[in-house]
């Protein structure tokens, strides 16, 4: 008994230590974003200080960070929509006909190093005169969002009762009606999860925008990297940028945790 209680105390201590290691760096970034220029590099570190918004004012006032954030939003949103538009019908057909090879084929995109595609893409987009536009980023980021959409949706679509689709067929529903009116409403939770994951991965993605974005289409991620490269000495502003670009994925991830549980309950086959 004593041994077991000791074991439990050790578990809690170990878990606490792990959580501290995971939280501390993130908390440090968050605190630094609200410190003044002198406080931010002060050692010993100041844990108590009057929070200031001057770093955010500088970030948005002295650079086009708002534009870059908007670009990120358009690219992540656009590639998510494109990924779902292509992925939902494909995943439905794959689930219905139990086709496995297209799913395996999309894994290929998941495995190949992104650098491999960049040179051919540059040539292709130059040929059609699209270089430096947000369209290029939406198309290339859809290479990431499409496999996510397919893989997240497959289990949801495989769980759709076949009778549901077959009775709609008997009623004379055409293929697109079956998909939009019968299947889609049942798998909404899956679509939400797929959409959020696709958006987060597209928002976070660095490499494609690093090479393919122009002055007009630069994302907040690439702009933040440029701050680092330019040797920005104001760490406060740097950390403010980090907070701004980290917020959407973290907030969306929180949403998905609740929806995941609700989605699993809603996906249960009814009658």
């Amino acid at each position: 008994m004593v041994g077991r209680r000791l074991g439990r105390a050790a578990d809690i201590a170990a878990l606490g230590a792990v959580l501290l290691v995971l939280v501390a760096p993130v908390a440090w970034v968050l605190l630094s974003a609200f410190k003044t220029r002198t406080e931010v590099a002060a050692l010993p570190p100041r844990l108590f200080f009057t929070p200031t918004l001057e770093n955010f004012a500088e970030l948005f006032g002295r650079s086009d960070f708002l534009d870059y954030s908007w670009n990120s939003f358009v690219v992540a949103g656009g590639s998510t929509v494109l990924g779902l538009l292509l992925g939902v019908p494909a995943a439905f057909a794959m689930a219905w006909h139990r086709m496995t090879w297209p799913a395996t084929a999309t894994l290929f995109a998941r495995m190949a190093p992104g650098t491999l595609f960049l040179l051919p893409w540059l040539v292709m987009f130059t040929a059609v005169g699209l270089t430096g536009t947000r369209t290029v980023l939406i198309l290339t980021h859809a290479v990431i969002t499409l496999p996510i959409a397919i893989w997240v949706l497959l289990p949801y679509l495989e769980a759709v009762p076949r009778e549901l689709v077959e009775s709609a067929q008997i009623d004379g529903a055409r293929a697109h009606q079956v998909l939009l009116r019968v299947v889609l409403p049942v798998v909404v939770p899956g679509v939400v999860v797929a959409a959020i994951l696709a958006f987060v991965f597209s928002w976070n993605y660095f490499l494609f925008a690093l090479v393919l974005s122009g002055m007009e289409s630069k994302t907040a991620i690439v702009a933040s990297f440029n701050f680092v490269g330019e040797g920005v000495t104001n760490w406060g502003a740097l950390m403010a940028a980090a907070v701004v670009i980290a917020a959407p994925p973290l907030i969306l991830t929180l949403l998905i945790q609740r929806r995941l549980v609700g989605g699993l309950a809603a996906g249960a086959v009814k009658g």
Binding site: V29, M94, F225, L250
Partner: protein
């Protein structure tokens, strides 16, 4: 004929719905991949059409010390990160499975590192690990330890990068392990309890083999990311100091986009792709071996 097929209950074909996705994949993935392979077999000079040069790029690869350095760094970074993440991840996953308190909060904290943009991870590392103003060295000083050049010591920079990736992705492995463990049949463990198997013995003989397929899944996912690891390295060190963290992917990127040595860069990328696909095939074999 057509109506007959349509009237049979499940005869309607939805196969055509795969077509838009396949068309997209053809244009954006398959064609570029083939194009990259072709480029890797060509001499590419600006203003001239690429010309096949009979595998000269691959011959150059074999004689290039930067390539071998990159391969060594890639495999070294891969090995230490994968082992660290699987070992710590398994330990943490089992610890999580035993804990019933505050599961929601704990899960939120665990998910956060790998949902953060790699650029944020990089910025975080740069600020925390700065040799003079970073808090990491200040903490070392408080403990009476000498300061370290975390990201600028050529001997240890790979270890630092591995530590950063391990910080970010071990929680992911732990969550997979926790899920795998919680889905195991409880009776097996009750039976083991009756037989008096405890502690290390129970873990070694029972838990670990049962977790085999779960661990292989985690290993595959991490392998693919680790072998083509790019973003955090590029953001924190750009492959430096010197070439001390120039892994194959960084090398390929620099040759392609900084030196415009396009044929050669493509050869490096194709070789790296082969390495990634190869590792996935090995794990697919392994998964069959450990499935119970």
């Amino acid at each position: 004929m057509k109506s007959l097929r349509n009237s049979s209950r499940s005869g309607t074909s939805y196969r055509w719905m795969v077509a838009p996705a396949l068309l997209f994949a053809g244009v954006m993935i398959v064609f570029p991949f083939g194009y990259a392979v072709w480029l890797s077999l060509c001499e590419v000079a600006l203003g001239q059409p690429p010309r096949l040069n009979g595998g000269a790029n691959y011959a150059r690869l074999a004689a290039d010390p930067d390539f071998w350095n990159g391969l060594r760094l890639t495999l070294w970074l891969y090995a230490i990160s994968l082992v660290a993440q699987l070992v710590i991840g398994t330990w943490l996953g089992l610890l999580l499975a035993r804990t019933r308190r505050a599961r929601g909060l704990i899960r939120t904290i665990l998910v956060s590192p790998f949902m953060l943009p790699p650029v944020v991870i990089g910025m975080m590392a740069i600020v925390i690990l700065d040799p003079s103003f970073g808090i990491a060295n200040w903490i070392l000083a408080q403990l009476g330890l000498p300061p370290r050049l975390w990201l600028s010591d050529p001997d240890t920079v790979i270890l630092t990068v591995a530590a950063i990736d391990t910080w970010q992705w071990t929680p992911f492995v732990a969550l997979i392990v926790m899920g795998g463990y919680l889905s195991l049949p409880g009776e097996v463990f009750e039976a083991a309890e009756v037989d008096g198997a405890r502690g290390w013995q129970r873990f070694r003989r029972l838990t670990l083999p049962l977790l085999g397929p779960t661990l292989v899944t985690a290993a595959v996912l991490r392998s693919v990311d680790l072998l083509r690891f790019f973003d955090v390295i590029y953001i924190t060190t750009q492959g430096g100091p010197g070439t001390a963290s120039t892994t194959l992917n960084i090398l390929a990127y620099r040759r392609g986009f900084e030196f415009f040595d396009i044929g050669y860069a493509s050869a490096i990328m194709v070789t790296l792709s082969a390495l990634v696909f190869g590792s996935v095939l090995v794990f697919a074999r392994l998964r069959r071996a450990v499935t119970w």
